[in-house]
Amino acid sequence: MKTITKATEVVIASSQNGEEKPNRLKVIKTYKIYVGGKFPRTESGRYYTPKNSEGHSLGNICLCSRKDFRDAVVAARSAFAGWSGTAPFTRSQILYRMAEMLEGRKAQFIEELQRQGSSLKEANYEVEISIDRLIYYAGWCDKYQQIFSSVNPVASSHFNFSVCEPTGVVSILAPEENSLIGLVSVIAPAIAGGNTCVVLASENKPLCAVTFAEVLNTSDVPGGVVNILTGKKSELHEQFSSHMDVNAIVYCGIEEEVIKSIQIKSANNVKRALIRKNINWLNDSAQSPYFILDTQEVKTTWHPVENIGGGGGGY
């Protein structure tokens, strides 16, 4: 079932002193998906083999089904209460931990980005900026609330305040081109704000998405908070937008027909449909607390204030 790209490749490793070691067969990784904190293959048993620009296969990648998506939504919904209730300070630490893990595995991501067609320089830059972006959002976890919340000076004798709360489960169709920084740029604001998410990775460049799941798995991100699927946008976008237990959808792309379909299907349950068009994910303008705000709800609470010292005396 597994097609190994260069099955006969035997690596002859040279040690530092130049001595030849015995031939050793390189172990090639099976790319899985990430659902509920576990790494299954797709329930459908299907796979596809995306190729890079030189025509080399990137591997047998899971061609996820609608059922995989539904399972992932169940996992995301189950994780929502815990994650949204996690202290922002703790969420911040976990995002920072993600950055640490990514830094530690830089070489692997650079190698995968190169296999997907980036130059070494580009790959290096994309990984570095991805790490920095995680740190950027790690910092926002316990700050955006103060920017976007308010105490409202109502005219009646009530204490009234508005706070941000996560909107719930967010389905995300990640950017196709920048497979790592694009992925990080859409996941980080969603989970920094306490949402859980189901992400469809770049269809033609899925490798670092799956490896990024390994980063998540070793960063104390609870299982189910981020679920990463691979497969075809054309097969899955309707499920991503029509599912009744998904509260918001983020679509990164420019296909007008897909955008329209997503917006129509989102109406099934009054989903918040967020379209990210023409964003340069490598640029600093692709990071902002307003991306966090997009998947937040504003909740306003009222409570009466007893008029202490109503006789005019005060305290």
Partner: protein, 489 residues
């Protein structure tokens, strides 16, 4: 033989003397045309329809029915006004127009309140003390924002959108118009607004005020009519933003209609709010909160507390006090200052409410209505209580938009949170308890946009309002309400 008198029916032993609000000072025309480009214009269809008083079914005035051609004229007028005048005006001048309109509303407040009650059926006490003062306050609040928008969204440069198409419901006719028009104008947009077909009059009175205020022509256009008129606004390519308040069903249709366009959208849709009474709540106050939660404005309130959850240990007491309190409610002439519950807004809505009352009985809930009399003519519904309701009942799941309360019980905090959140809606909720930590636990776990703790149905222009889930998206009111009418660069 002595006739037993219900001691709680305050008006049974001796009648309250009627205390009707005077109608002599109001000025109404027999026929109203469309308000387009600063002028009242006859509809191109040549058609008018009747607006009736739901309390006596008598015609009040004729209202123009706008078709696509009229809507097109209104949108073009709004676009021209946007491009030539309103978007170029100094923001502080925009603000001054809104301040002026607010003042004029205050000056004519009594007249507007009377017309609101005549046309919509709500008790004069509510239109006089709640609706109209909030209308003026809303204009005052957003007037001040006009030249301060740069402070609202840190690190962003907000710009206006263009023409906003606004469609509003019949439950708070003038208040909804204010919620829509004031922030739109403050942010530099122009508007085409459609009031609900049963309650167009106060919006048309507002058009007269706007005309008198000298607001540049075309900045506010008011087109009256039915669903088709609304659809023409939604589908018009010259519209840059849709703001809709109404049912979730229509909201979904609108969301679908504008798919694939660049129209921005905010939706304020239905609700099925939980009102939760804990055993440690001040019960008498809580019962007042229940009454205000569901019987305010005949229950024609999207955020009405239509699902009551009572902790088992105090259930008997709460129900006893609630029934007693319901016996004292006065249902009748909206123009009478004694009236607590006015007329149902329309025959259609009365039919819907009756259908749900029938469902409630069929599904096995136990109904209670007080013994009050209701007038013969007009549309009336006694305040209604259903006990032993359960989660699967239609009266628990679906929005009724009438004075019908479904009661359930609970034992634990976790149980009531789960039950309260078990609905596709998420507009509002109420919590009654004396314990602060319990309030904050509940308010953070209830998935709803507005939570009233130890109070209910309070509104203020500074306070953002809007829903989670299928109750819509976007907020109206407060700083957060500005975002709906701005683009950010």
């Amino acid at each position: 033989m002595t006739k037993t008198i219900n001691p709680l029916a305050f008006n049974a032993a001796f009648k309250y003397a009627p205390a009707p609000e005077s109608k002599t000072h109001i000025q109404l025309k027999p026929r109203y045309d469309l308000f387009i480009n600063g002028k009242f214009t006859a509809p191109s269809s040549g058609k008018h329809f009747d607006s009736i008083n739901p309390a006596n079914e008598l015609k009040i005035a004729e209202i123009a029915e706008a078709n696509e051609k009229d809507v097109d004229m209104a949108v073009k007028a709004a676009k021209t006004a946007y491009e030539k005048v309103w978007s170029k005006m100094a923001p502080k001048e925009r603000g001054k127009y809104l301040f002026r309109i607010a003042r004029m509303i205050q000056e004519q407040a009594r007249e507007l309140a009377v017309i609101e009650s005549l046309d919509g059926g709500k008790p004069i006490r509510e239109s006089r003390d709640i609706d109209i003062p909030l209308v003026a306050a809303h204009f005052f609040y957003y007037a001040g924002w006009a030249d301060k928008l740069d402070y609202a969204y840190p690190n962003k440069k907000p710009v206006s959108l263009g023409v906003a198409g606004q469609i509003i419901p019949w439950n708070f006719p003038l208040l909804m118009a204010a919620w829509k028009i004031a922030p739109a104008l403050a942010c530099g947009n122009t508007v085409v607004l459609k009031p609900a077909e049963t309650t167009s009059l106060t919006a048309l009175k507002l058009a007269e005020i706007i005309q008198e205020s000298g607001l540049p022509e075309g900045v506010v256009n008011i087109v009256t009519g039915f669903g088709n008129t609304g659809a023409a606004i939604v589908n018009h390519p010259g519209i840059n933003k849709i703001a809709f308040t109404g049912s979730t069903d229509v909201g979904k249709i609108i969301q679908k209609s504008i798919a694939g366009t660049n129209k921005k959208c905010t939706l304020e849709l239905g609700g099925k709010a939980a009102n939760i009474i804990f055993e440690d709540a001040p019960i008498d106050q809580a019962v007042e909160g229940i009454i205000n939660g569901i019987y305010f404005n005949q229950g024609h309130v999207c955020c009405a507390g239509s699902r009551l959850f009572v902790q088992e240990s105090v259930y008997d007491m709460v129900i006893r006090i609630l029934k007693d309190r319901m016996e004292t409610l006065i249902v009748g002439d909206p123009m009478d200052k004694n009236t607590d519950i006015g007329a149902i807004n329309s025959k259609n809505q009365l039919d819907t409410i009756r259908k749900y009352i029938k469902y409630g009985k069929e599904d096995g809930a136990e109904m209670f209505q007080p013994s009050c009399e209701v007038p013969n003519k007009g549309f009336w519904c006694r305040p209604t209580l259903f006990m032993n309701a359960s989660q699967s009942h239609r009266i628990v799941q679906e929005e009724i938009f009438g004075p019908v309360l479904a009661v359930q019980t609970f034992r634990t905090v976790d149980e009531v949170i789960e039950k309260a959140n078990n609905t596709p809606f998420g507009l509002s909720a109420g919590v009654w308890t004396d314990k602060g930590s319990k309030i904050f636990n509940l308010t953070s776990k209830l998935r709803a946009g507005v939570i009233w703790a130890n109070t209910y149905n309070k509104f203020d222009p500074t306070s953002p309002f809007g829903g989670y889930k299928e109750s819509g998206f976007g907020r109206e009111g407060g700083l957060h309400g500005l975002g709906a009418y701005l683009n950010f660069n």
